[in-house]
Chain length 434, copies 2
């Protein structure tokens, strides 16, 4: 009899695992259980759908269950939740009461937006992780015509939501518990992003945690609408009850093959913690790319092929207005906490030759004093930000020194970059100090 | 008495060398001799000036001689050519007849556009490396109102000129001796660029070398105007007469400290050959970035600090219309010639998630079969090309394997990239075949 793989969760990680497993071992029977009616949904697209940049919400689902079944030859059961994993019997219990046996299991139960502030359950408070949440926000704005909105959290989702609310014509106030944006607080970056947001009309409150959401105010400021964007919590109850070990971050602990502590049980996506390639320690950084990559590795390994996921550099990018803000690796503070002796430089350069109508570009780089190794970077600007943060992510993956980064033969032509790319200027400055 | 450094040439490499040397050793007397009246001129900006994208030609000179002298505290003598180097006496002979002694010398004599085709000296034939050449081209078009233009050479300069001529409303025909563009001939890339140029109205003739430029025709096709963009020749006569050794490429041979065979004599910029980081062999690839970098190293070393230039990856990028075409590393053919057992994959992916209005992106990667090492890549598309070629250039500098490239934590957000970046998709495809 053929082996059976059960995948819990029909979004990015689960479907990547299912498709990959079937590809690796075509004789494997693969069944995906997804509790909602929708699979392969891209929640990252929701802010752009709200802004009107995505024409229809159907575009955010890459496949219908039927399409996925046909193309990938796996079974997809939507509207069916797994309510228990009985690993000693190698079976799952479904919301229908049915029991289904497995030889291998992939847990891809995802995450949910944190809603742990007092007052978060009020009808004017929204999170933006599900289509339902986005639709509710959109409906509320149309029906109630709120004027003053509050966004709590200046991570990528909070910043994306600031943009959505601005486009809708609301007055926006942003609260962030830390002193920065995207989890970074390099002074030059913070100043630039803050001033940019202020020019857009946003009232920015850094270092101001919100302890409670009032009916008509937040931290004493009037507010008709609140968007909570303070992060995600992994959905681990099902796994934990089955004896799957969690890590210190509270997410499921896996090795580089996405194996949990239970033999034959893998986990992937927003419910797992992953290794940070700079610090070597597990981190919880749920993101679409990581979900897809870890899902793919989990699927391959569940089907018997030993692939591996090496970890994340913590690369993140967000667009607000015409500005792009990006970070990768660790900050000076995180580097110090991880045992490095870090040095950070900040520069402001131009993104093209002056004669081409250049715009400013901010680069911060952090390196380790003894080894000269590059540890992280932040880039802010209007042009070429994604490409440049990716250069740094590549250098981090390769464990390059700052001096090696300085030697890279980066592309040059007037429409794209100045002769001395801002990355090289920053690397040169940092190399002097290491 | 203080030491004296003489720099021959007041453009990118020469000025970089002069400024760097003075910075490293402030007691050094530095004198730059530049035969023209203009220093720090950016010839790479000329196509954009012709197109009208650069407001005034003055913008293309970064410094006046006076500004440079004041800011960098070196002497700049314009309108003065060095006519001989008498190294046994450690002196140069100037066009004024004067002799000036040196302790160290940097040769940065640059290059000139190749004009070695029969018929190239006719008044309707232009090259585009100097302001005078660009002005002559512009004047010719205004005065004579030619209708049919021919561009010879599909390197970056030829392609930039195609765009200029199209903007001016001319009918453009392009001849290229090889089967590709930018020195690359991966089939998918050639097809894409050819079809794009044809849509713009360009008549593309690949594999059609031009042996002679006629008075009214090129290769039998009528032509009122010809732009010759078949490459550059290093200006080495002065160096060669002084006993400076040339390499096999015909350019000046230097080590990683930009030293020539003569003690105390350095060379940098478009007159030198440099090491290719993939093949390890010397290549002649004159480019603004390399000129600045090698100049800087030559200046530091001439002033007594042992810096080094590790070489080039051959990274190049050009914009034609809304298309960007970029390459780095070596092609399959070049890899084979260098002793690798290369495999090349080509993919066509999307530059963003489909729901964001994605456009196609072409990626070709070449890797080595035994080691798995990445050897080169080509990228064509409308968005995110520069950043992605720079990721590959970084991976080449780090000697990454294709599998390591696949593990890079690239930035993801819907406005910038799809969840599976095209680079990762290509790396995955290539890794399977290595």
């Amino acid at each position: 009899m053929d082996r059976r793989l059960i995948v819990i969760g029909g979004q990015a990680a689960g479907l990547s695992a299912a498709a990959r497993a079937k590809r690796v071992d075509p004789r494997l029977e693969v069944i995906v259980f997804e509790k909602s009616s929708r699979i392969a949904f891209a929640p990252c697209g929701l802010p752009y759908w709200l802004e009107g940049e995505v024409p229809g919400v159907d575009k955010l689902s890459r496949y219908t269950p039927e399409e996925f079944e046909r193309e990938r030859r796996v079974r997809v059961c939507t509207g069916v939740a797994v309510v228990a994993i009985q690993h000693s019997r190698r079976q799952v219990v479904l919301s229908t009461g049915e029991r289904v046996g497995y030889d291998a299991l992939v847990i891809a139960t995802g995450a949910r937006a944190r809603k742990d502030l007092p007052g978060a359950e009020q009808p004017h408070v929204f999170t933006l992780q599900t289509l339902e949440g986005a639709e509710a926000l959109s409906r509320f704005v149309k029906d109630r015509k709120p004027e003053r909105a509050t966004v709590i959290g200046a991570g990528y989702l909070g910043l994306e939501l600031v943009e959505v609310l601005l486009r809708w014509g609301l007055k926006v106030r942003l609260f962030e518990a830390t002193g920065g944006f995207l989890g970074r607080s390099e002074p030059g970056m913070v100043q630039w992003v803050r001033e940019y947001l202020e020019r857009l009309g946003v009232e920015v409150h850094l270092n101001e945690p919100v302890r409670e959401i009032g009916a008509r105010q937040v931290n004493g400021y009037p507010s008709d609408l609140v968007v909570l964007a303070t992060g995600f919590q992994p959905n681990v109850a099902l796994a934990e009850e089955a004896g799957v070990r969690l890590g210190r971050t509270g997410a499921i602990q896996v090795n580089e093959h996405m194996e949990t502590n239970l033999p034959g049980v893998f986990a992937a996506g927003d419910c797992v913690e992953v290794r940070h390639i700079i610090t070597g320690t597990p981190v919880y950084l749920p993101l679409g790319t990581t979900a897809n990559k870890t899902g793919r590795v989990a699927g391959a390994c569940a089907a018997g092929r030993r692939e591996r996921f090496e970890g994340v550099a913590g690369t993140a990018i967000v667009r607000v207005g015409s500005l792009a803000i990006a970070a990768t690796g660790v900050s000076n503070l995180e580097a110090r906490a991880a045992g490095f002796d870090p040095v950070t430089v900040e520069i402001q350069a131009r993104d093209k030759p002056d004669y081409m109508g250049s715009r400013p570009l901010y680069v911060s780089l952090t390196g380790a004093r003894s080894s000269g190794r590059l540890l992280g970077g932040v880039i802010v600007g209007e042009f070429g930000v994604a490409g440049r943060i990716n250069v740094l992510a590549t250098a981090l993956q390769a464990r390059m020194t700052v001096d090696e980064l300085y030697q890279v033969d980066l592309a040059y032509a007037p429409p794209f970059a100045p002769v001395w790319d801002p990355l090289l200027v920053a690397a040169r400055e940092l190399a002097k100090q290491l």
